[in-house]
C-alpha cells in the first residue's frame, strides 16, 4: 500500500442565504425571512401558491431578484442579461409542488471574485497579512422548502411526521465558489465575510441559528504519495451546516478522514464518485446521506409558468448605483486612515448603520476642529465601548440605537475638550440614543450634560474650596505631598472628586492641589 507524504485540502463553498423580502419568492404570502414574520406560528405564512393547490401559479418577486443582483454585483459577478427559471423535481413532503423552482444552466449572476482581507488564525482582520482571492462561480435564486418535524411541538414523541410550510417558497440566494480554499479557517473566514456583506446590503437577517445562512462545503484532498505521485480523493458535499463551528469541524473531519478512506478503498475523484454527507454535531462526524449511484434524477426543465428574467443595462446600472462602499473596503480604509486595530475595524463594519454613525461622527468632529485621525479614534472608542454596551443591553444593532454622527461627535468633542469625563459618557450615550436633540448638536449635548449634572466644573473658586476641605480632612496625605511624595496626591484628588460628586476634571484638581501645597 502506498504511503501518503502530504495532504492538500481542496474546498469549494456553496452558501444559501435566506433573503429578507416581505413576501415569498413566487407569491405574495408573507415571508419568514422578513423580521416582521420571523416568529409566525406554524403554517400561517401560506396561500394557494405556497401549498401548491391545484391551479395556483408562481409570479416572480422582483425585490428578491434585485437583492440577488446587488449581492452578485458586490461579489464582482456578471449579471446575466437573460436568465430563466427551471424546475428541479423530486418528491418530499416539505416540497409542495414536488419540484423546486431554481436556476439551472443560466444563473442570474456568474463569474465573480472577491478578495478576502488577510486575517490572523482567529479570523480577525490583520492589516498587511496576505488575503485570499475567491472565485465566484455563480449566484442564483431559488425557493426554500418547508420544514419536516418528527416530534410534536413541545417535544412529545409521535410516530408520524408533521410539516410546517411557513418556510416553503422563501427566496434563497445560492452562492457557489470555485474550489479556492485550502483550509477550514479560510472557509469560515469566507462564510463570515459573505454573511457580513449580505447583512451590509440589507438582503438578509442573517441569523445563523435560524438557518438564514447555511453552508455546504465541497471537500476533497490532493494526496501526494511518497513516490511523488498525486491522487485526488472523491468530492464530498456536506449538507446544511448552520454555524461556523459546525462548518469548521465538518471540514476538518473530512480532511482528516479522506486520506484514511482512500487508503481503505482506493476510490478517487471521478464521474459518479461524488457523495453527499450530513454532519452529526454531537458525535463530531459526517455520515453518508447518498452516493452518486442513488442520486436523484432531478429532470430539470425550464418552468413554463415563468417568463425569463431580462436585466437590461438601465436596471443593472440603477442597482449598481445602490451599492455602498463594501465592508471589506471600509475595513481596510478604517484601519489605514484612523490607525485602528484590525479587530476594531472589523467590528465597526459588521453593520452598515454603525459605519454610518462612525463616519458621520468623524465628519462632524473634523468640522469642529478635531484632527481626522484623532476623530476616528475617539469615534471608534465611543462606538466600541459605550454604544456597543448599550446596543447589547437593548438587544439591537449599534446602527439601530438611534444615535447620530453629530450627537456622537458632540460627545467626543466635549470629552476632548475636557468638558466631561469618562464616567459621563455611558449615561449620555444612553440619553442620546433615540432622542437626539435637533439643531446645534454640540450646544444641545452640552446643555444635556449640564442638566444631568455631568458637566465638569471649571469654577476655580469651587475647586479651591473642595481642595481646602480635602486637605483639612486628610492632613497625613497633605503632609506626604509637601514632603515630596507625589504618589500621595492621588488620595487628595480622590477626596476632591468625592466632594465634587465626580463633576471635576481630575487633571485640573491635581494641578490645584499641587499648587496649593507648593510642589506644583
Amino acid at each position: 500500500m502506498a504511503t501518503i507524504a502530504s495532504v492538500r485540502p481542496i474546498i469549494g463553498m456553496e452558501v444559501h442565504v435566506e433573503l429578507s423580502t416581505r413576501t415569498k419568492m413566487f407569491t405574495r404570502a408573507p415571508s419568514p425571512g422578513c423580521a416582521r414574520f420571523a416568529d409566525a406560528p406554524p403554517n400561517t405564512l401560506i396561500d394557494p401558491v405556497v401549498l401548491a393547490l391545484p391551479g395556483a401559479l408562481p409570479v416572480m418577486n422582483r425585490e428578491a431578484v434585485e437583492m440577488a443582483i446587488r449581492v452578485g454585483l458586490a461579489l464582482g459577478c456578471q449579471v446575466a442579461r437573460f436568465s430563466k427559471w427551471d424546475r428541479k423535481s423530486y418528491f418530499y413532503p416539505d416540497l409542495p409542488k414536488a419540484y423546486q423552482i431554481s436556476q439551472y444552466d443560466l444563473p442570474l449572476c456568474f463569474d465573480g471574485a472577491v478578495d478576502l482581507p488577510g486575517c490572523d488564525e482567529r479570523g480577525n482582520f490583520e492589516p498587511g497579512a496576505p488575503g485570499l482571492r475567491v472565485g465566484i462561480v455563480r449566484a442564483h435564486l431559488e425557493e426554500d422548502a418547508g420544514k419536516l418535524l418528527h416530534e410534536a411541538p413541545g417535544g412529545r414523541p409521535i410516530d408520524f411526521s408533521i410539516v410546517d410550510w411557513n418556510r416553503a417558497g422563501t427566496p434563497l440566494l445560492e452562492v457557489v465558489t470555485q474550489p479556492d480554499f485550502s483550509s477550514a479557517d479560510q472557509c469560515v473566514h469566507f462564510a463570515r465575510s459573505l454573511r457580513a456583506l449580505c447583512r451590509f446590503l440589507g438582503v438578509t437577517l442573517g441569523v445563523l441559528q435560524k438557518g438564514h445562512v447555511r453552508f455546504e462545503p465541497n471537500i476533497n484532498c490532493e494526496l501526494t504519495l511518497e513516490d511523488g505521485h498525486a491522487v485526488r480523493t472523491p468530492v464530498v458535499e456536506v449538507k446544511n451546516l448552520n454555524s461556523y463551528t459546525a462548518l469548521k469541524r465538518a471540514i476538518e473531519h473530512e480532511v482528516f478522514e479522506q486520506p484514511a478512506r482512500w487508503l481503505a478503498d482506493g476510490r478517487r475523484m471521478g464521474p459518479g464518485m461524488k457523495s453527499t454527507r450530513g454532519w452529526d454535531d454531537a458525535r463530531g462526524v459526517t455520515f453518508l446521506l447518498r452516493s452518486k449511484e442513488d442520486a436523484h434524477d432531478y429532470r430539470y426543465f425550464p418552468d413554463p409558468d415563468l417568463p425569463p428574467v431580462v436585466v437590461d443595462e438601465a436596471w443593472r446600472a440603477r442597482l449598481a448605483a445602490t451599492i455602498p462602499e463594501l465592508p471589506a473596503s471600509r475595513m481596510r480604509r478604517y484601519a489605514h486612515e484612523f490607525a485602528l486595530s484590525g479587530k476594531d475595524a472589523q467590528a465597526l463594519v459588521e453593520d452598515r448603520g454603525t459605519c454610518e454613525v462612525f463616519e458621520g461622527a468623524i465628519d462632524s468632529m473634523a468640522s469642529l476642529g478635531v484632527e481626522r485621525i484623532r476623530a476616528g479614534r475617539v469615534a471608534a472608542n465611543l462606538i466600541m465601548q459605550s454604544a456597543a454596551r448599550l446596543a447589547h443591553e437593548r438587544g439591537v444593532e449599534i446602527g439601530d440605537l438611534g444615535l447620530t454622527g453629530a450627537g456622537l461627535a458632540a460627545l467626543g468633542v466635549l470629552r476632548e475638550r475636557g468638558r466631561i469625563n469618562n464616567q459621563a459618557v455611558d449615561p449620555l450615550v444612553a440619553l442620546l440614543a433615540g432622542s437626539m436633540p435637533a439643531g446645534d448638536a454640540l450646544g444641545a449635548v452640552e446643555a444635556l450634560a449640564r442638566t444631568q449634572g455631568l458637566l465638569i466644573v471649571r469654577d476655580e473658586s469651587a475647586i479651591e474650596g473642595w481642595v481646602e476641605r480635602a486637605i483639612g480632612e486628610n492632613p497625613r496625605a497633605a503632609e506626604d505631598v509637601r514632603a515630596g511624595k507625589e504618589a500621595a496626591v492621588g488620595r487628595l484628588v480622590g477626596a476632591v472628586m468625592k466632594l465634587a460628586g465626580g463633576q471635576a476634571d481630575g487633571k485640573v484638581v491635581r494641578e490645584a492641589i499641587l499648587r496649593r501645597l507648593g510642589s506644583g
Binding site: 394557494p48 401549498l51 401548491a52 393547490l53 391545484p54 391551479g55 395556483a56 401559479l57 408562481p58 409570479v59 416572480m60 424546475r87 423535481s89 418528491f91 413532503p93 409542495p96 409542488k97 414536488a98 419540484y99 410539516v163 434524477d297 429532470r299 426543465f301 418552468d303 413554463p304 409558468d305 415563468l306 417568463p307
Partner: protein, 491 residues
C-alpha cells in the same frame, strides 16, 4: 337562448336572471345524466347567483347595468378543471374526489362579476387528457347528436351541454384542441384564445405552455361576448399578456375587408374522412362566395406537430401533476404499518390517476430523464419553433387567417379508439400546431357528415395571428352568417 339574447332579455327586464336559471337548470336536469354532461350540478348555488344578479340589477340604472353586468343572467357551465370557490373541483379524477378549492379561477371570477350564473361543473377527460370525453372517472360524456358517439374532448361536457341547449355557453380549456375538436364534433363554436390572452390562474395545469381557457358557445357572437369578459392581464399569472382591452363583440359584425384565407396543402390530407373533406371544400367555396381570396399555403412541419406536442405536453404534465402526492389534499392511500413514504406516493397516485393520465405522466417523466432530454424534449422545442415559423410565413404572405378542418373525421363511437392511443392522438392533428404556436383558433360549425344514417356536425377551424382575435372572429362571423347550417340544434 344564447349569451347575447339572454343578456338583452335580462338587462331590458323582460325576464329575470332567476327565471333564466330555472329554465336552464330544468333542461340540464333532463339531459345531464343521459349525456354525462356534469361532474356536479350546482342547482342551489346557481339560483342564489341568479337572485344576486337580479338584486344587483334592481339597484342599478340601465346604463350602469349594461356596463357592469354585460353577462347578466347568462347561464353557463364550467369545465371541472377550473377552480371554483363553491362546489367541488375534481378534474373528473378520483385523485381530487371531493376536493374543494378555496378560490375561483380568474376566468370564472370574471364571468361571475359580470353577471353570469354557473349551473354546474362540466365533465371532461380526466385532467383534460383525452380527445373523446371517455377518460372521466365519472363515466363518459355522450354526443347529443348521437348518444352512441363521443362528443370529443377533453372539454366534452362543456361542448355537449352547449350543443344540447342546456347552457348558453361554457368555459373549456384547450391544450392541444380540447375546445375546438369537441366544438366541431358537437356543432358549436369553440375558441382557443391566443396564449396569454386569458389568465390560467385557477385552471388546473395540464401543460402550462400550451393551456388556454376559452369559450364554447352557440354563435361566434356569443363566444366573443364571453372572450371579452374573461380576457386581460392577471397579476396571478405571469404568462398572461398585458394588452389593451379589445371589445371584440362590438366589431364582430364588420366584415374583414379583402379577406385572404390560406388553405394549407396539409389540410387536405389523406387521413380525412370523405364527408369531412366534402364539408371542408364547401366551406372554402362559402368563403369564396363571400369574396374572400383563397390561397394555397404550406405548413410542412405540421406533420411533426403531433410528435412535438406529445413530448412537450407530457413533459409539462408529468411535472404539473407531481403535486398530487397524497400529502396535502386529494386522494391518500391507506397505509399499513410497514409502509413508508414511497408507498404513500406510489399507491396514492396509482389509485388516484386513471390509465390515460398515468400513461402521460410516464411518457413525460421519460422524455425529461437524464440522457433522454436532448433527444426528446430539446428536439421537440426545436420542432415547436419550426411550427411557429410555418404559421408566421402564412401570415407574412398576407393571409388574415388559415383555414383547416377541426379534426380529420366526425365524432366516432364510444370505445372505438380507447384501445388505440395513437389513433386517438391523431384526432388532434389539426389542432395541436395552433397550441404549439400560441395562436388563436376557432372552430365553427360548417355542415354535416352523414354516417350510418345519422347526421353528425363537422367544424372548420380558422387560425389567426397572435392577439388578433378581432380579425379571427370577424372572419368566423362572416362565415357563420353565410352558412346557417351551423345553427341547427341536435334532434
Amino acid at each position: 337562448m344564447g349569451v347575447v339574447e339572454v343578456r338583452e332579455a335580462v338587462l331590458s327586464r323582460r325576464v329575470t336572471a332567476r327565471e333564466v336559471a330555472k329554465a336552464a337548470l330544468g333542461r340540464l336536469a333532463a339531459h345531464a345524466d343521459r349525456l354525462g354532461l356534469l361532474t356536479q350540478p350546482l342547482t342551489d348555488r346557481a339560483l342564489e347567483q341568479a337572485a344576486e344578479v337580479d338584486s344587483r340589477l334592481a339597484s342599478q340604472s340601465g346604463d350602469e347595468a349594461r356596463s357592469r353586468l354585460p353577462l347578466a343572467g347568462v347561464p353557463i357551465v364550467v369545465k371541472d378543471n377550473l377552480c371554483t370557490s363553491f362546489g367541488r373541483t375534481t378534474c373528473a379524477s378520483r385523485m381530487l374526489e371531493g376536493y374543494e378549492s378555496p378560490y375561483s379561477a380568474t376566468a370564472v371570477a370574471r364571468l361571475l362579476e359580470r353577471g353570469a350564473v354557473v349551473l354546474g361543473k362540466a365533465n371532461l377527460d380526466e385532467f383534460a387528457m383525452g380527445s373523446s370525453g371517455e377518460h372521466s372517472a365519472l363515466g363518459p360524456t355522450r354526443n347529443p347528436w348521437d348518444p352512441s358517439r363521443v362528443p370529443g374532448g377533453s372539454s366534452s361536457g362543456s361542448a355537449a351541454a352547449v350543443a344540447a341547449r342546456c347552457a348558453a355557453a361554457a368555459l373549456g380549456s384547450d391544450t392541444g384542441g380540447s375546445i375546438r375538436q369537441p366544438a366541431g364534433h358537437c356543432g358549436v363554436v369553440g375558441l382557443k384564445p391566443t396564449y396569454g390572452r386569458v389568465s390560467r390562474y385557477g385552471l388546473v395545469a395540464f401543460a402550462s405552455s400550451l393551456d388556454q381557457v376559452g369559450p364554447l358557445a352557440r354563435s361566434v357572437e356569443d363566444a366573443a361576448a364571453i372572450l371579452d369578459a374573461i380576457s386581460g392581464v392577471d397579476p396571478h399569472d405571469a404568462t398572461s399578456a398585458d394588452r389593451p382591452h379589445t371589445d371584440t363583440l362590438a366589431s364582430i359584425g364588420t366584415p374583414v375587408e379583402g379577406l385572404t384565407l390560406g388553405v394549407p396543402r396539409q389540410a387536405r390530407g389523406p387521413g380525412n374522412h370523405p364527408q369531412t373533406a366534402r364539408v371542408f371544400e364547401q366551406a372554402v367555396e362559402t368563403f369564396r362566395g363571400l369574396g374572400a381570396r383563397v390561397v394555397d399555403v404550406d405548413l410542412p412541419t405540421i406533420e411533426h406537430a403531433i410528435a412535438a406536442y406529445y413530448i412537450v405536453a407530457t413533459a409539462e404534465a408529468s411535472s404539473n401533476l407531481a403535486r398530487f402526492d397524497g400529502v396535502r389534499y386529494g386522494r391518500r392511500a391507506a397505509l399499513g404499518p410497514d409502509d413508508g413514504l414511497d408507498d404513500l406516493y406510489s399507491r396514492s397516485r396509482s389509485e388516484g390517476f386513471g390509465p390515460e393520465v398515468r400513461r402521460r405522466i410516464m411518457l413525460g417523466t421519460h422524455v425529461l430523464s437524464s440522457g433522454y432530454y436532448q433527444a426528446y424534449y430539446a428536439t421537440a422545442l426545436k420542432a415547436r419553433r419550426l411550427v411557429q415559423r410555418d404559421f408566421d410565413r402564412c401570415f407574412a404572405a398576407g393571409c388574415h387567417a388559415v383555414l383547416m378542418p377541426s379534426s380529420p373525421g366526425p365524432a366516432f363511437r364510444l370505445g372505438e379508439k380507447t384501445s388505440d392511443p395513437l389513433a386517438m392522438y391523431l384526432e388532434d392533428v389539426y389542432t395541436v400546431g395552433v397550441n404549439l404556436a400560441g395562436l388563436p383558433g376557432v372552430s365553427v360549425p360548417a355542415g354535416f357528415a352523414r354516417v350510418d344514417g345519422v347526421e353528425l356536425p363537422v367544424g372548420v377551424q380558422l387560425i389567426a395571428r397572435a392577439f388578433d382575435e378581432g380579425t379571427l372572429l370577424r372572419a368566423a362571423r362572416m362565415f357563420e352568417l353565410a352558412n346557417p347550417a351551423g345553427r341547427r340544434a341536435p334532434p
